[in-house]
């Protein structure tokens, strides 16, 4: 399944089966516990904020529902997509490394090498490689080989190095001689790229930790406002009628909640932007 066909934001509903299929492309199935967590957490967070700031049931319930919908429609597909892409990238990296090792034996043809490494791959890539191998075995006139390799690599177009590696394989099939240096070079770069990607992930996780901590601190601050009220007037009266159920509070909360959510939404979009080979830029005005 092509990942870009999963444009959940533009569609009205998320197909849960589609997500299941995607998440099980490399063996591991999505657990219902995870779904509940990912839907529940944003709902709880937003609910807590709105509850502590307004104390109206008719604002809390929409907030909880909104949080749940956000988690289900936006966060959940992104998590599934990220896991799929990571697993797929790792599978490709493993394939490239294995293939380079096996191809360094000049007596092996490409078909034999693919056959040899086939047992070490798993999941979706395994299936696709099997199909490729069968098609290659049927007939291998040059145009057909080019077309087959192109079709195989088309799905992973954003992984530039992998596609170049496939081109090297194609060249080897055509020419009959191994250009092992180029393949080693590409594999090495792919490993480097993976390493850089991991570093990038670590950095993003640090930011995620920061945002989590800051959110907890904000909840703490709001609780401290309650405390202030308690200490200054001996009850919740000051907080409730002076702030929460007052025009000043309405204005502040209606500025704070949307702007906080706006920043958070931007952060989530950047956090799940994993590709290190591509940057989404509008080149048209």
């Amino acid at each position: 399944m092509r990942i870009s066909s999963l444009q959940t934001q533009n569609r009205n509903r998320v197909n849960l089966e589609e997500l299941h299929a995607l998440s099980s492309a490399y063996g591991k199935k999505m657990q219902s516990k995870e779904i509940i967590l990912m839907v529940g957490f944003p709902a709880l967070l937003l609910g807590t904020f709105v509850c502590l700031l307004t104390y109206y049931w008719f604002t809390v319930i929409p907030a909880v529902v909104l949080g749940a919908i956000y988690g289900y429609r936006i966060i959940l597909p992104k998590i599934v997509k990220r896991r799929y892409e990571s697993q797929s990238l790792l599978a490709r990296n493993k394939f490239m490394n294995n293939m380079t090792q096996v191809m360094s034996d000049p007596n092996r043809t490409v078909n034999q090498s693919i056959d040899y490494v086939l047992s070490r791959t798993n999941g979706e890539l395994h299936k696709e490689l099997k199909e490729l191998l069968t098609s290659l075995a049927v007939g291998s006139d040059p145009e057909r080989v080019t077309e087959l390799i192109y079709q195989f690599g088309k799905k992973y177009q954003e992984d530039n190095l992998f596609n170049q590696f496939l081109e090297q394989l194609e060249t080897t099939i055509h020419e009959g001689k191994t250009n092992i240096e180029a393949m080693q070079d590409l594999t090495e770069h792919h490993n480097d790229m993976l390493q850089k990607r991991n570093d990038f992930f670590k950095l993003k996780d640090q930011h995620l930790g920061g945002v989590k901590l800051l959110s907890i601190i904000i909840v703490g601050l709001i609780l401290m406002l309650h405390m202030t009220s308690y200490m200054m007037s001996g009850g919740m009266e000051m907080y409730m009628s002076g702030f929460a159920h007052n025009i000043i509070g309405y204005i502040c909360v209606s500025i704070f909640i949307p702007s906080y959510l706006y920043v958070l939404h931007g952060f989530i979009n950047n956090y799940f932007d994993d590709s290190v080979m591509e940057v989404q830029v509008k080149t048209k005005k």
């Binding site: 700031l53 177009q157 180029a182 950095l203 920061g210 000051m238 502040c252 704070f256 920043v263």
Partner: protein, 250 residues
């Protein structure tokens, strides 16, 4: 050559005089036709006029000072538009460089494949269909036609490098390619090309990561700014509440 070389040539009359030289150059570089730029600038002017009109009406009805506010908004909006052009242009350059690396990496296996006697024309024709964007396809097609027109001249290669990427390394790359076209039959040249391209590719990845990291830079400030509103509001509410407690009503 249409875009890059003719940039300062078009007559700048009427609306186009309003666009700063730098922004006009950037817009032209991004393959916008003069017609489109004119339309864009007309839209900007229309919006500015709308601002001034709406606030002018307010000024007549409520307070004349609103009219000045309209002018301020119009100027700010116009400046914002130009700033946006520069921002998009930076990203555009970056994207172009990336596309050039991709082109280079696609080219190298094909060069190696030919072995002896490099026929760049045939290779480029094969490459045209594999280029991901239409702009690049057009540029490459133009290079193919120009190559036969200006044979034994570096000029078309240079134009291609400048239009596609504009970086120093891309010109160097095209220079090596030109030498290859002129009959330098040394495989180490191709090897070197490959090394240039992959080095650029890796630095491209670094750049992308740095670019994406920068998006996180103002994160905490933004969140804290939104909290400040809350704190400030609570402070005011305390004051108002205490005054209310004392029995003074507004």
């Amino acid at each position: 050559m249409d875009s890059a070389n003719n940039v300062s040539e078009p007559k700048r009359n009427g609306y186009l005089k309003l666009i700063p030289e730098k922004n006009l150059y950037e817009l032209r570089e991004m393959n916008n036709s003069m017609q489109d730029i004119l339309m864009w600038e007309k839209r900007n002017v229309r919006r500015a006029v709308l601002f001034i009109l709406v606030f002018g009406i307010f000024g007549v009805l409520i307070d004349f000072r609103f009219a000045f506010l309209g002018i301020v908004f119009a100027v700010l909006d116009g400046r914002n538009q130009f700033k946006k052009v520069s921002l998009v242009y930076q990203q555009f350059r970056f994207e172009r460089q990336l596309q050039f690396f991709k082109f280079a990496r696609l080219l190298i296996p094909l060069l190696k494949q030919t072995g002896d006697g490099v026929n760049l024309n045939a290779i480029f024709i094969r490459l045209v269909n594999r280029m991901p964007h239409d702009i690049d396809k057009n540029l490459l097609q133009k290079l193919i036609t120009d190559m036969s027109y200006y044979s034994e001249d570096f000029y078309p290669f240079e134009v291609f490098a400048n239009q596609m990427s504009g970086s120093e390394n891309s010109v160097l790359f095209m220079q090596t390619l030109f030498d290859l076209d002129q009959g330098a039959l040394d495989l180490t040249v191709i090897e070197r090309l490959g090394q240039i391209a992959s080095k650029e590719m890796m630095s491209g990845i670094d750049q992308i990561i740095a670019f994406k990291e920068r998006k996180f830079s103002l994160l905490y400030t933004k969140i804290l700014m939104s909290v400040v509103v809350l704190m400030f509001g609570f402070g005011i509410s305390i004051v108002v509440y205490q005054i209310g407690e004392m029995g003074i009503f507004f």
